[in-house]
């Protein structure tokens, strides 16, 4: 019974962790421009993240080490430096985008420009990390995050043609705007397969004191939680396709367009629900990414860490998240468009995947860490597939980023 509670709690948590500004924005854009055609990218991304999250939870539960610990210890400092720098950079952009997401929600709610909200939002996030415990952050924010289910409700209320939805789950070639189509597919994959998510998950398993008895729970949480998260993303995509595209709004490049998704379905409550969803999902993600920055540094250099401990006991750890939040608020405070930043950082996330996923192949096959709980053929095949996918994405995205950029 206790395990069951634990599992449902974990599922709720991962739903909260999955949906953030990146998955919302990319799904909305894709739905508006290509209808249901890009659902496959959400499905593919969700399947990949299920595998990675399950492995990182299993690694932590069995070895009592996090993925970042593992990369540093197994591959040495000189190799670790690359995923470290890549993850720090990508996380910085994502954190900035999440703060921007909350700031936009506050602008929509109050009419006061988003750049004014960046620092207050960062401050509030910092305060929660400073005073809160891991449980408060994990569970509290995630439960509030269930408000994002309104997208699924909305999608069902719109009575979509479910066979068309199912067809969208199968990859197909674009009939128009090919370059845009692929860029969006990459961004959706980047938004779904976020390194911060699976790395954070392994730190969370340590914070929650998981051991081998949690392996079953871990599998259930990874599978169900990520599936729920993916379902909400698909909900956003369906709503965007049926509301925005049918009204002739095919290009979502202005965040003011986003609340229009829910208004035709729920009226004024649609506006409120959208603002609440955006604010809560992004705030939750900002907390997690901010914390992940500190985990990454502390674990990489072997310092003490733990969200439940007092900041004064782990000065290095708490200083890292303080600085991370402050720095990430700056671009938004300077007025950088959060939506553009989001799309940019999602594509970059996808490009950084090989650096963080390749180690999985070695760590999850290392008997000294995971003993008899090593990867089976299916998991190894999944990792190899994700690595290959990551390389393709990197090759596709890096030129786009360098020459296209924001």
């Amino acid at each position: 019974m206790k395990k069951l509670l634990e599992i449902s709690l974990g599922v709720v948590t991962s739903v909260g962790g999955f949906l953030e500004v990146g998955s919302m924005a990319t799904a909305a854009q894709a739905g508006a421009m290509f209808g249901f055609q890009l659902i496959w990218a959400v499905v593919l991304g969700t399947v990949c993240i299920i595998f990675l999250v399950e492995m990182s939870g299993r690694f932590a539960a069995v070895s009592h080490h996090t993925i970042s610990d593992g990369i540093r210890e197994r591959f040495g400092f000189n190799v670790f430096l690359w995923p470290l720098l890549a993850a720090l950079l990508v996380n910085f952009l994502v954190l900035s985008a999440e703060i921007g997401g909350v700031a936009i929600a506050l602008e929509l709610a109050t009419g006061i420009g988003f750049q004014w909200w960046a620092l207050p939002v960062a401050l509030l996030a910092w305060l929660l990390l400073w005073k809160g415990t891991f449980g408060v952050i994990e569970k509290g924010v995630s439960f509030l995050g269930l408000v994002t289910l309104c997208f699924v409700v909305g999608a069902v209320m719109l009575r979509p043609d479910w066979t068309a939805v199912a067809r969208g789950a199968v990859p197909s070639l674009p009939v128009h705007d090919a370059a845009n189509y692929w860029f969006m597919a990459v961004s959706i994959l980047g938004a779904s397969i976020s390194p911060y998510l699976f790395m954070f998950y392994s730190s969370g398993a340590i914070e929650d004191r998981w051991d081998k008895s949690y392996l079953g729970a871990n599998r259930a949480i990874a599978g169900l939680g990520m599936t729920f998260g993916g379902t909400i993303s698909i909900g956003v995509l369906i709503v965007a396709a049926l509301v925005l595209a049918t009204h002739g709004v095919t290009q979502v490049d202005d965040y003011h367009q986003l609340p229009l998704m829910l208004i035709p379905i729920f009226g004024f409550w649609g506006f409120v629900l959208f603002v609440a969803s955006l604010a809560i999902a992004c705030f939750g993600a900002a907390l997690e990414v901010g914390l992940q920055q500190a985990y990454l540094v502390a674990q990489g250099f072997g310092w003490n860490w733990g969200e439940d401990r007092k900041p004064r006991d782990d000065p290095g750890f708490s200083a890292t998240y303080t600085i991370s939040l402050l720095l990430a608020a700056i671009p938004i405070a300077l007025g950088l468009d959060p939506l553009r930043l989001t799309i940019f950082s999602m594509a970059l996330t996808a490009a950084s995947l090989p650096l963080t996923v390749v180690p999985f192949l070695f760590l999850l096959n290392d008997k000294r860490y995971v003993g008899e709980h090593r990867n089976g053929i299916l998991s190894n095949a999944a990792v190899i597939f994700i690595i290959a996918l990551g390389f393709v994405l990197a090759v596709v995205t890096i030129p786009l980023q360098i020459f296209g950029g924001t």
């Binding site: 591959f75 070695f362 096959n365 290392d366």
Partner: protein
């Protein structure tokens, strides 16, 4: 007291007395000797890289796949046959001909 930092040896190229490339240092073995803990041998070669990553099985499988596996993948060089006083430039202290006796396959069971 002369000391060296062993971490600098990781991945270094080993040169023979005549300056020929022997391979790359991938592992350093140490053993207990009374109260002391002493270096016994250096692993030089290709397979040793997989040992360091604890992925011999995968590595060898990949090599097999591409038919790249050779018996002479690894040299186990005893401590007294390698000069490490400058860890950036480790040098072989014996003639190349002695190397053939140090050939070995990687540990697959670990």
């Amino acid at each position: 007291m002369i000391t060296v930092n062993l971490e600098h040896l990781a991945g270094r190229r080993v040169l023979s007395q005549r300056g020929k490339n022997v391979g790359y240092i991938e592992e350093i073995r140490a053993e207990r000797d009374g109260d002391d803990f002493v270096v016994t041998e250096f692993h030089v070669g290709v397979y040793a890289a997989f040992e360091r990553l604890s992925a011999s099985a995968i590595g060898v499988a990949v090599l097999d796949l591409f038919r790249l596996r050779r018996r002479d993948g690894l040299y186990r060089i005893p401590w007294d046959k390698l000069d490490i006083s400058d860890p950036a430039r480790p040098r072989l202290l014996c003639p190349m001909t002695e190397l053939s006796g140090m050939k070995d396959a990687p540990d697959l069971q670990e």
